[in-house]
């Protein structure tokens, strides 16, 4: 009896703190629903990544996934699709994918069969293609207001000026209020300060060796850099998508399966200095 009263008291205190400090709202919610998981917290099932999130990865928040080059958009979309599929397992409802018209010019379009392979049901997606960025921003704002949506993805090219701290903070607040997974997919953009809970930089990485086929493509590997994390530390990992288990797994970077190549240069580093032959000593 005494114990439950203490727990209740603790809970109200935690809620009060959460109310004062908006950023711990998801943390408080997790504590409250420790018994039954309502999908507000997701695990990557990768110990190294789960470790950096104090209180678990908050699904109901604003996240950002970016890639620096347009050709990385495949890697970024794939990572987001896998992340989204993980977050959507507990949650019913449709997902709105808003696409800035500038992205379509060189970034291609979503391929539903490919998304389905990441476990994301294409029938749940609503694709919105506004005519200009202003309309796209308005659409993302409207979508975030809707409580019945499970998620909102806003695909944007580069760093548009209108999409600033205020706009992202509004999205973040709505994500926490309405229990939505909101993500910015930034194609070919720079690092930028905004209100997102996490920011991931994704880059394609050579795949693992396929044991069956010579010169075949093994598990797809992605280079992940967690550039920003409001709930803990940052870090960088290499993960691989395993189609058999339908999930990401940690692919340690320390083994060498392709020795002669540097991962980020097409050719080896040029040799420093000059090569000279010494006179024979004898």
């Amino acid at each position: 009896m005494q114990k439950t009263r203490v727990l209740q008291r603790l809970e109200t205190l935690q809620e009060a703190v959460a109310k004062i400090d908006g950023r711990h709202a998801s943390f408080a919610r997790r504590n409250r629903s420790r018994g039954h998981n309502d999908g507000s917290v997701v695990d990557f099932d990768i110990a190294a990544i789960d470790g950096v999130f104090e209180g678990g990865f908050p699904a109901f928040a604003l996240h950002e996934v970016r890639c620096s080059l347009t050709r990385d958009i495949g890697a970024a979309t794939g990572f987001l699709a896998g992340l989204l599929a993980g977050c959507m397992q507990q949650r019913q409802g449709r997902i709105v994918w808003i696409c800035d018209p500038a992205c379509r010019l060189d970034g291609g379009q979503l391929f539903p069969a490919g998304l389905a392979m990441f476990g994301l049901d294409p029938a749940r997606l609503v694709v919105v293609q506004p005519v200009d960025l202003k309309a796209a921003l308005w659409a993302s704002d409207e979508a975030a207001k809707c409580q019945e949506l499970a998620g909102v993805i806003f695909q944007v090219k580069g760093n548009p000026r209108n999409f600033d701290m205020t706009a992202t903070r509004r999205l973040m607040l709505k994500a926490q209020q309405n229990g939505q997974f909101i993500a910015i997919l930034r194609q070919g953009g720079e690092e930028e300060a905004n209100a997102a809970a996490t920011r991931w930089h994704v880059r394609a990485q050579p795949s693992t060796v396929d044991p069956d086929i010579q010169r075949g493509i093994g598990l797809l590997r992605l280079n992940l850099v967690l550039e920003r994390n409001r709930h803990g530390q940052t870090g960088h990992w290499t993960i691989a998508w395993n189609q058999k288990t339908h999930g990401f797994e940690h692919a340690p970077t320390n083994y060498v399966d392709r020795p002669a190549l540097s991962s980020d240069r097409s050719d080896g580093a040029p040799q420093m200095g000059q090569v000279m032959a010494f006179e024979r000593a004898s």
């Binding site: 392979m117 293609q129 990485q205 998508w241």
Partner: protein, 494 residues
């Protein structure tokens, strides 16, 4: 060159239609002549027809005459309005007719009009008689004095009748029918019967009649957007009762704004689910009007606002829960409506699967608002089957990219052997060296769509030395279909 139309002054001076231009010029050297422009006439007539919607929903363009641009055709041009049950709204037939003619005259158009029991009789009286309103049942008596041309007959038949000395409708109305039909065919008798009301004649309205409609006339024209929104709210309030009686909701709505100067603006919206609440209808129109890049040109204001229901559907029997929360699914369809109204319904889309293996044709994007809920269920199953097929004993790698280019982009590729995977290629001015590749996956062309001579595609999944994974294909089988196959970039893997 001949005259096709003459105004009142010209007629008084003695000019006639079908006169040659040189004759007319000989009479009046300073005659003003303009080229006949049938297309512009047709546009003007359509605009007047749209304006006439304020009197009745049944407005038909007169198609009884051939539109070959001849003098006769110009003379025939006109509108037929079915005002059954409408005249009392304007204070009786006489007042209504004066209103129509007076407003058109104020706009600078000379119009002659007549009201009669049958379309044929009204046509005849409007053109060949001074009588404007023929009381019900009298038209047969008055028609007998009119010339035969008022029966909408073609010229050869009129000439033949003239030679026989038959000049008025009275001459043929009482003649024995069988010899008339034998001599002139059924056309004459049909026109006669239609004019006299012995045979039913239907007019074909220009627009489908809306299922429900509500309108409001303003003594003082409204200009402000707020006023328009408020009016939409009031009109939707009128419709609400009808909706509730029939348990219906609107899927497509149309707002017609009649401007003082005769221009008619039309705003259409579509809803994802049947709408009946006033707020949602007002919201749809507000977003639609906000989505226009330029405002509605109000000019001197709108004096008639009408809300039409073009499509309606039975309401879904969903109940709100007892805790007072909103109905399930309401929020989502509200969002789709709102986005669709502002951005255009064809910009809010969903994926649908199509039964083909050609990647860019294997899916489509359809407007979310036009898909019913039943379709959604079927589609979900389809994707899931697709998914399971790969999951079971499929390959351990992803076989389809997440990003697809709508149009495959041609690349310069070098392959070791003509039918093998590429070794390096240049795409968007960047050179890629391929380290690993898998394939080919052959997708044959669809001969039933592309016809003979279409090329098969050999798809390869390739990975370059930096880890980028692409989906490329070679168009055409080497030596069998083409000697110099081209390479295309089609997608990007994760």
């Amino acid at each position: 060159m001949r005259l096709v139309a003459v105004d009142a002054c010209g007629r008084e001076a003695g000019l006639r239609m079908d006169q040659t231009l040189s004759d007319a010029r000989a009479l009046f050297p300073d005659l003003d002549v303009f080229d006949h422009d049938p297309a512009a006439d047709a546009v003007l007539l359509l605009a007047i027809a749209a304006w006439c919607d304020r009197y009745t929903p049944l407005v038909a363009l007169d198609r009884s005459c051939q539109s070959d641009g001849s003098a006769a055709a110009v003379h025939c041009a006109g509108l037929l309005l079915d005002i059954t049950g409408c005249s009392h709204l304007f204070g009786g037939e006489e007042v209504m007719l004066l209103d129509v003619v007076g407003r058109l005259r104020a706009a600078g158009l000379m119009a002659s009009a007549a009201i009669a029991d049958t379309p044929g009789a009204a046509w005849a009286f409007a053109r060949y008689s001074d009588r404007q309103i023929i009381t019900s049942g009298d038209h047969q008596r008055h028609l007998l004095d009119l010339p035969l041309i008022s029966l909408r007959l073609d010229m050869p038949m009129l000439d033949m009748l003239k030679k026989l000395g038959l000049r008025t409708i009275g001459c043929i109305a009482d003649l024995p029918r069988a010899p008339l039909a034998a001599r002139f065919g059924n056309g004459l008798l049909q026109r006669l019967d239609q004019a006299l009301g012995r045979q039913e004649e239907a007019i074909s309205p220009r627009l489908p009649v809306p299922e429900l409609s509500s309108e409001r006339v303003f003594a003082e024209p409204i200009i402000l957007q707020d006023d328009i929104e408020r009016t939409v709210g009031q009109l939707a309030g009128h419709l609400r009762q009808r909706f509730d009686e029939r348990q219906l909701g609107a899927r497509a709505l149309e707002l017609k704004l009649f401007r003082v100067d005769g221009h008619v603006a039309c705003v259409r919206v579509r809803a994802a689910s049947p709408v009946y609440s006033i707020d949602r209808i007002v919201m749809l129109f507000r977003e639609r009007i906000a989505g226009f890049h330029d405002d509605l040109e109000a000019g001197f204001g709108f004096d008639l606002v009408r809300l039409n229901v073009l499509e309606s559907e039975a309401r879904q029997s969903e109940q709100g829960d007892l805790t007072g929360g909103s109905m399930r699914g309401e929020g989502f369809s509200n969002l789709v409506d709102k986005l669709g109204a502002r951005l255009g319904t064809d910009r809010v889309q969903r994926f649908v699967a199509a039964g083909t293996h050609i990647p860019e044709r294997s899916f489509g994007l359809l407007p979310e608002a036009s898909c019913g809920k039943k379709d959604a269920g079927a589609q979900a199953v389809l994707w899931r089957q697709d998914n399971h097929g790969h999951e079971g004993d499929g390959p351990a790698v992803l076989t389809r990219p997440v990003i697809l280019f709508e149009r495959p982009e041609q690349v310069e590729a070098i392959a070791e052997v003509p039918d093998g995977p590429p070794v390096r290629f240049r795409w968007r001015r960047t050179l890629y060296r391929i380290e690993r590749s898998e394939g080919p996956e052959r997708i044959a062309c669809e001969w039933w769509r592309d016809g003979r001579g279409g090329h098969s595609r050999d798809y390869f999944r390739v990975e370059d030395d930096q880890g980028y994974r692409f989906w490329m294909f070679r168009l055409g089988l080497f030596e069998r279909e083409t000697g110099n196959p081209k390479w295309f970039m089609h997608g990007i893997f994760a």
